[in-house]
Amino acid sequence: MRLEIRDVHKRFANGAGDHIVIERMDLSVGEGEFVTLLGPSGCGKTTLLNIVAGFVRPERGTVRVGDRPVEGPGPDRGVIFQDYALFPWLTVRGNVEYPMRRTGIKTRERAERLQALLRMAHLEGKERLYPAQLSGGMKQRTAVCRALASDPQVLLMDEPFGAVDFQMRLKLQEELERIWVENRITVLMVTHDVQEAVYMSDRVIVMSPDRGRIIDDVRIDLPRPRERRSERYHEYTDLLLDRLGEAFADARAES
């Protein structure tokens, strides 16, 4: 499903007065497209993602999924949180089944879908473990299964690999990319890792801390799965690093 962000404004009141985080944001994510928000810390990436998820209300503007305006959180948009936000009192199975229960999927289909998801994420046999018993990577994959379980039209991810070590990060990126290629769901992801953005995305949106202005919208025109050592891969990372430099310059100018 297509995702449309139109004329969105968001400001937060703080001690010094109003802080405009996002002003006049326009962004479209095409059906089945993987788009990444890249930008320095504090530029409003999480805020924008939370607006799309329906956790935060913008002062102005609209977000549409397909032709339905977003009015609050809902199972049409699966969310993967930075710290996964798995329910610690539920097992892997309980966590992955939770959205299916809430959306009224029948017991038999639930069991089948659970197995399919766990197989896809290499989590077979882990159904009965609690989150506290999982490694960081297993938690992350459980969160992916859970977000996909309600069969969402859009997947929202806030730094989904933030809390795992470098090797695991690369591995999980490859796995998530494979899962995405299989499902071709519309994705909006937040990261501040240039490598990750180039590896995963169809388009990378570079955001500035200056009111969330879009500095550049870069299409990554490389065949998948991507070769991290190729020359063109490096051209893209260099380009994005340059753009990020501009964003950091904005940050200095602003403060």
Partner: protein, 278 residues
Amino acid sequence: MASAGSSLVDRVGDEEILTGTGGVDGRGARGRQSWWWVLSLIIVFGVWQVAAWRYDSDLLMPQPVDALRALGEAVVDPIVLTNLGITVRRVLIGFVISMAIGVPVGYLMGHSPRVGEVMDPLINTFRQVPIMAWVPLSIIWFGLGDGPTIFIITFVGVFAIILSTVAGVRAIPIELFHAARSMGASRSGLFRDVVLPATVPDVVTGARLALGAAWGSVICAEFIATSAGYGYLMVRAQSMMATDRLMALMILGALVGFLIDRGLVYANRQLAKWRYLT
């Protein structure tokens, strides 16, 4: 878990630390703990025995063996058991009332910042009055017998339950609510799906503190406000100068308190298995 002398708060604390150290380490720590237990009991009885020899007076310091014999008699004495039953019944009634008030109030305060703001100072004011200072007033209100004792038990327990529940609710990460909502939970479904399961351990901790405080204060209240119950029995033993029996009753009182606490620890482990994974 900890040595016999530590307060309930410390014991709750120890429990958390112990369960935090999972696996082999955790079991090792637990094994060491039970050795400390045995050792501290030996020390207590040893000092007691030395003191008994030194003072050589059954009134001031009876021999440990005499107290233990009295304990053996007490646990089969129908009068002791009846009065123990009366006290346990009071504790349970007071405890149920304090849960019935404390848990909902705790959830409300944790859920709504407005309610929290109003209730926090109120609760903290009432909490400052030493619990036994309520006894005379509660006798005026309820007369002698069950009334004042149950009042004291309820009163002393309700704060622990409220504070523990509030802390539990406030400690739930906002992401868990967001996650539930984004997976199709309704706003009202959040209580059942998130708040309730997340706070089970905190509510049980509150219950533990409440029961410990109740058991501690009920006997004291019974010294004054009743003509039946365990505390009353102790006053009677004292007035008959039966020191060995008095000490036996103290030991039995400690055992009952200990069993109640173990019962709640067990309940917590059953209700919130996910908190105690190794």
